[in-house]
């Protein structure tokens, strides 16, 4: 398997770009940072499926494609299904000796948004992981249905204002806590699950390379800061991601074979959660006096989660 060096950024920058510009994602969109890095950290032939969402509609605007690899567009719930199907066919044809190029290294990858991953494609993802297909599923987690105008998903965190759970006189926005897809996928039998964020490019590239090298189903949850729906200036995508990882709102960790949990990034200075929230318009209302309890609730939950992750890491269970 050909692997691009991600030892340091200078080495990595000698890779050959495989995700082309003039896609139509918003300026500053993190989706493309993640996708581009995935494609750039491997030299293998990639077979990529992408279901409906911002990434799909913006990278395949007829008659253009931004993908320098085999790429399949499929309906909203079926990124995992398409990758699993292609992988199963590839294995079968290899067995029968009908592949034109049987020795070429091929990797199967699926991209879905959080709407499709946490909600609408959940059953199909679960099935593909359970069947043990050799593929990597990457959720571009921007915590809302961005492509249809910012509806809440089960990944939307508490207190966020969305079009279907708006903040206002009687509501502080989203009432429920973000669903824990990492725990679910680990319990579902994924060989490897990892939470990554583009600001920690090396951590992310290492997780991608690990997932691609493992023979089995892998799940990666990638923080994808969304300038349009989170309401921040496009230039700040990496700054917002830094706030997310350094306040531990979005902790970076991996779980191998369902049990071995490793924290892969420990911030030197842990920032207060309110610094992360204050930088985004979707949480603006939380800073009104009547919503002070939600800010407290946020910090408490983040602290508890971090404590839990550290104990799981120690216990090796």
């Amino acid at each position: 398997m050909a692997i691009t060096s991600v030892k340091n950024l200078k080495e990595f920058s000698t890779t050959n770009e495989r995700f082309e510009g003039a896609h139509l994602l918003c300026p500053g969109c993190a989706h493309s940072m993640i996708v581009r890095e995935l494609m750039n950290c491997s030299d293998d032939n990639l077979v990529i499926s992408t279901n409906t969402g911002c990434l799909e509609v913006s990278t395949a605007v007829y008659p253009y494609t931004s993908w320098d690899t085999s790429w399949i567009h499929i309906g909203f719930e079926n990124a995992a299904t398409a990758a699993a199907g292609a992988e199963a066919m590839y294995k079968a044809r290899k067995r029968k000796g009908t592949l034109k190029n049987p020795d070429a290294p091929v990797k199967f990858v699926a991209f879905g948004g959080d709407g499709s991953t946490y909600d609408i494609g959940f059953q199909w993802l679960s099935g593909a992981v359970e069947r043990g297909h050799n593929f990597t599923y990457i959720c571009l987690d921007n915590e809302n249905y961005a492509n249809t105008g910012g509806q809440r998903s089960s990944s939307t965190p508490i207190g966020a204002s969305t079009t279907t759970a708006p903040a206002g006189r009687v509501s502080y926005g989203e009432k429920r806590n973000k669903k824990d897809m990492m725990a679910i996928m680990a319990a579902n039998g994924a060989s490897y699950v990892a939470q990554v964020a583009p600001n920690k490019w090396k951590n992310m590239a290492q997780a991608f390379q690990k997932a691609l090298s493992i023979d089995g189903p892998c799940y990666i949850n990638a923080l994808s800061a969304c300038t349009t729906e989170w309401k921040f200036d496009p230039k700040d995508t990496i700054n917002i991601s830094d706030l997310a990882t350094d306040s531990l709102v979005f902790p970076l960790y991996e779980i191998i074979d369902g049990t071995e949990l490793n924290i892969t990034y420990r911030p030197k200075n842990v920032l207060p959660v309110k610094d992360y929230l204050a930088a985004q318009g979707r949480f603006k209302h939380l800073f009104k006096p009547e919503n002070a309890h939600i800010l407290e609730e946020w910090q408490k939950r983040v602290d508890e989660k971090w404590e839990y992750l550290q104990r799981r890491e120690e216990a090796r269970v």
């Binding site: 080495e11 990595f12 920058s13 003039a22 300026p27 500053g28 008659p63 230039k235 995508t237």
Partner: protein, 148 residues
């Protein structure tokens, strides 16, 4: 490396300006080939050594999205590659570990590259779209006795 910065295939088409096709005119199960040749070794080739087909968005441009643009100042740059790794539009051109410049056919002017540039003063700054790079460089902020 002759045509790296201005590859003549790049940015030929204004997106949406031509070849408009209604959704009901698209053939079901249509396949678009990104390259004119057998592309199995594409991961081994740089843009300038590839035969992009007219279906690749590489041949299209989104330059009209910009109102401000980043300008690159080679004199201050330390080639850290931060701008390269975080550009969401594959628009920082880097070869042999060196930044060569900006791909203005695909840059949308988001400003991320300026934010992540660590030098002092920055080696990338945003200017009005109409300003020439020479004028921008001429009014670059002075160095605060740091870097070479």
């Amino acid at each position: 490396m002759s045509n790296v910065l201005s590859n003549e295939k790049r940015g030929m088409h204004e997106l949406g300006a031509e070849k408009k096709v209604g959704w009901d005119e698209v053939t079901h199960g249509v396949v678009l080939h990104s390259f004119e040749d057998d592309a199995t070794d594409v991961a081994m080739r740089k843009a300038e050594d590839r035969k992009y087909s007219e279906f690749s968005s590489y041949t299209a441009t989104v330059a009209s999205w910009r109102v401000i643009k980043p300008v690159y100042n080679r004199d201050i740059c330390i080639d850290c590659q931060n701008c390269w790794v975080w550009c969401p539009d594959s628009s920082i051109i880097s070869r042999d570990k060196q930044i060569l410049g900006i791909d203005y056919d695909h840059c949308k002017g988001c400003g991320v590259c300026v934010e992540v540039c660590p030098t002092n003063p920055k080696s990338l700054l945003m200017f009005g779209e109409a300003m020439s790079s020479e004028d921008a460089i001429a009014q670059w902020p002075v160095k605060e006795k740091k870097e070479k």
